[in-house]
């Protein structure tokens, strides 16, 4: 199942855990677990969508629409599985 998930991710594009869960016929929780597992193995990396460290010192940070974005986002990392 993890291999199928990796195959789905490697096709590229923008994916949602809920849609991946539908394609793999498993729950969103299990997909999230697998994503965390793949991140631990270095196959994907979690990126912070929130405006964090890079925005320190930006005078307009208060106006930034995504300063409070807390949703997790993953992207394919360089490591091959």
């Amino acid at each position: 199942m993890l291999e199928r998930l990796v195959a789905e991710i490697r096709q590229g594009g923008t994916l949602q855990p809920s849609r991946l869960a539908g394609r793999l016929n498993v729950s969103v929780d299990l997909v999230n677990m697998m994503l965390e597992d793949l991140a631990r193995r270095g196959l994907i990396a979690e990126v912070n969508a929130a405006c964090g460290q890079p925005c320190r010192g930006c005078p307009l940070v208060g106006e930034c629409v995504s300063a409070n974005n807390q949703n997790r986002t993953w992207m394919l990392a360089g490591k091959k599985g």
């Binding site: 993890l2 106006e63 995504s66």
Partner: protein, 677 residues
């Protein structure tokens, strides 16, 4: 995954010498410690594992006629060597060989708990599963059929609610029956694909002779294929060089085994869940899914996003523009008149500085506060409801369709608020080429300041059509971004695709207090900017437009304007609009402040009306187009220099933006003139 020794089951009947030992295993926060404390009461002590900083608890309790020793293993998510806790837990089980391991799992989050069970079930110790938190699962409508799970796992599964002491007796009875051999255990561990089973056999053959007796050889082979650092290091030290090298070759040739073994575990978890758990589709989740099918649809989603942008402008012009005009006529103009009266006796330049420079420039910008408040409120609302993440998702799909790099979505998303975080947000992109491309196009996203300039000018020229015009101009700037991306992607990228997995929040009813707080903070930030950067720039513009002789026509600004006039004239702008555009480099709102100073807005009926009477519609459209696409503000350019680490790329970016914005403005001017708009 045949991780047990060849026998198909364990017949238990061996009672330990002395008190039987029970090991409690489980993830953190599964109620393991509650169970331990309940059983042992005061008969417990805390210590540290030898050589580790990991804490452990040991105690004893009486059940029936027997005294049991119980060890509370550290909370772990798996039995890999990822943390000292995991090493300690598995070493205890393998070396100390407790008589029974009780895995405490949560019925409410069974999937997460089962990964550890998938590893425990492979170890040569009897396992009993304590299915804890049954009350929480029931509250959440999750139905776990313990007897079905027991049949699927092949080990006893006892429902528990440890906090209420429910099921404790049944759990201990099961432990007693396992120890006495009354309950036979035939565990059903995860399976491994046949092709990888052959590899595992090969690894087993290579290590069998050297594997320490305390570790089952099948388990060691599996951990080696999984890349477990602890086991790998240990076997490396034990194997002779020839075997070590052969083992390395096998592992290197089959590096996909790591995923295959984990994959087998997840397949196993999926099967257990499908067999034993009925998961309700919570109303909220199902509603979110239903909405998302439309809102995040690759095509429909774009129309919805475009529609929402249109709605933002409609709201702005319906509510914001009248308020802006009111603020200008009732506050800025009277304050200006009052300042003129109060400063009647002062030197002329003092009155001019205060009225034309400070009040004119800053007042014009402060008068867009209602417009900004509406922007902030609508964006805050969309954020709070959960739509902004969908907007990013839809935009990212759109980016992919047109060949732009997928990782660009974060900066693009950030750019709607401000281009500075947009440029800095490109740090998430690992490829330098992709980063540079994104930096190049990210400033084409219309930031809130540029949208505010648009919202200030369009009503003056287009009246009731202002919403439609603004909406089209925003779409135009996004189209320019896309076209630029396509062209640059073809040159730099050759159509590379990358993947993003985005977690989208549930939609929820907005919290008005949160939105109000957000609007307040952003409005204060906007006013601070008006009182600092824009004030300084207004005074500078006033000085340049007054000195040296006190007349605008002979001022330094006019001289600068006459130098720039030919460039401005090419796209239909006179020198005042050209200078206003240039000053937007400091901060985008400055173009309005500059026009206010140059046209003495504070003394007149209002800047909007003055501009509408001075310029044609094609000129207004060309000015708006170039304003939306022009070189970003100084803060963004600074960020570009910092992020690219190169003046060459920074200047290239500026050149690119000038070229694109002037080209688009020229086309707009010509098209509007030809169509007789």
């Amino acid at each position: 995954m045949e991780c047990h020794e060849p026998s198909t089951g364990l017949r238990l009947g061996v009672v330990s010498i002395g008190s039987p030992v029970i090991a409690l295993a489980g993830q953190p926060n599964m109620g393991k410690s509650t169970l331990f404390n309940m059983l042992t009461g005061l008969n417990q002590h805390v210590g540290n594992w030898p050589g580790k900083t990991v804490e452990f608890k040991e105690g004893k309790f009486q059940y029936g006629q027997k005294t049991y020793r119980i060890v509370d293993l550290p909370g772990t998510y798996s039995l890999t060597a990822a943390s000292p806790e995991e090493v300690v837990a598995r070493e205890f089980i393998l070396r100390e060989k407790p008589d029974v391991v009780v895995a405490v799992v949560s019925a409410a989050t069974l999937e997460r708990s089962l990964y550890l069970v998938s590893e425990l079930i492979c170890l040569p110790v009897p396992l009993v599963v304590g299915l804890n938190m049954m009350d929480v699962a029931r509250q959440e409508g999750i139905q776990v059929q313990a007897e079905v799970l027991q049949a699927a796992l092949g080990v006893p599964v006892i429902p528990l609610t440890a906090t209420r002491a429910e099921g404790i007796h049944e759990l201990l009875a099961a432990v007693e029956q396992v120890l006495s051999g009354e309950i036979g255990i035939t565990p059903h561990p995860p399976e491994i694909r046949p092709d990888h089973a052959v590899v595992m056999d090969e690894v087993t053959r290579l290590i069998r002779e050297y594997n320490p007796a305390v570790y089952p050889v099948g388990w060691t082979a599996m951990k080696l294929l999984e890349g477990d650092s602890d086991v790998t290091a240990r076997m490396k030290a034990l194997l002779p060089p020839e075997q070590g090298s052969a083992l390395q070759d096998v592992i290197r040739q089959h590096d996909d085994s790591m995923l295959a073994i984990a994959s087998g575990r997840y397949d196993w978890i999926g099967r257990m869940m499908r067999a034993a758990v009925t998961h309700p589709r919570l109303g909220q989740i199902s509603l979110t899914d239903r909405i998302d099918r439309v809102v995040t649809h690759p095509v429909l989603g774009l129309f919805i996003l475009a529609g929402i942008l249109g709605l933002v402008f409609w709201l702005t012009f319906t509510l914001g523009s009248p308020l802006q005009a009111l603020l200008s006529s009732r506050i800025v103009v009277p304050v200006s008149a009052l300042a003129s009266r109060l400063l009647a006796g002062a030197p002329g330049w003092v009155a001019s500085l205060a009225v034309d420079g400070v009040i004119g420039g800053v007042g014009a910008v402060i008068s867009f506060l209602p417009i900004m408040v509406i922007f902030f409120a609508v964006f805050g609302l969309m954020e709070d409801v959960g739509y902004m993440s969908r907007a990013a998702y839809v935009m990212d799909n759109f980016m992919h369709l047109m060949g732009l790099h997928g990782k660009s979505f974060l900066p693009i998303f950030l750019g709607f608020g401000c281009n500075v975080p947009a440029v800095m947000g490109t740090r998430v992109i690992d490829s330098r080429k992709a980063r540079l491309l994104t930096i190049l196009v990210a400033p084409l996203v219309p930031c809130s300041a540029r949208m505010a300039v648009l919202a200030f000018i369009t009503p003056a020229f287009f009246g009731s059509r202002a919403t439609l015009v603004s909406w089209r101009l925003i779409l135009l700037s996004l189209a320019v971004l896309v076209i630029s991306g396509i062209v640059l992607n073809r040159i730099l990228f050759k159509g590379e695709r990358s993947a993003f997995i985005m977690e989208l929040p549930l939609y929820h009813i907005p919290n008005l207090r949160t939105i109000a707080l957000l609007v307040w903070q952003r409005s204060i930030s906007f006013l601070k900017k008006a009182g600092t950067v824009i004030l300084a720039m207004s005074v500078a513009i006033w000085a340049l437009s007054t000195l040296p002789g006190g007349s605008l026509q002979t001022s330094y600004m006019a001289r600068l304007g006459s130098l720039l006039a030919p460039a401005g004239a090419w796209i239909g702008l006179d020198w005042k609009l050209t200078v206003a555009l240039l000053t937007s480099f400091i901060a985008k709102e400055n173009s309005i402040a500059t026009l206010a100073v140059l046209y003495g807005q504070a003394q007149g009926a209002g800047l909007g009306l003055t501009l509408a009477s001075m310029y044609s519609l094609p000129t207004a459209l060309a000015f708006l187009t170039i304003s939306l696409l022009f070189i970003p503000c100084a803060a963004t350019v600074g960020a570009i220099r910092q992020e690219t680490g190169s003046w060459r790329w920074t200047l290239l970016n500026i050149g690119f933006m000038i070229l694109v914005s002037a080209g688009a403005a020229k086309i707009m001017f010509m098209a509007a003139s030809a169509l007789g708009i």
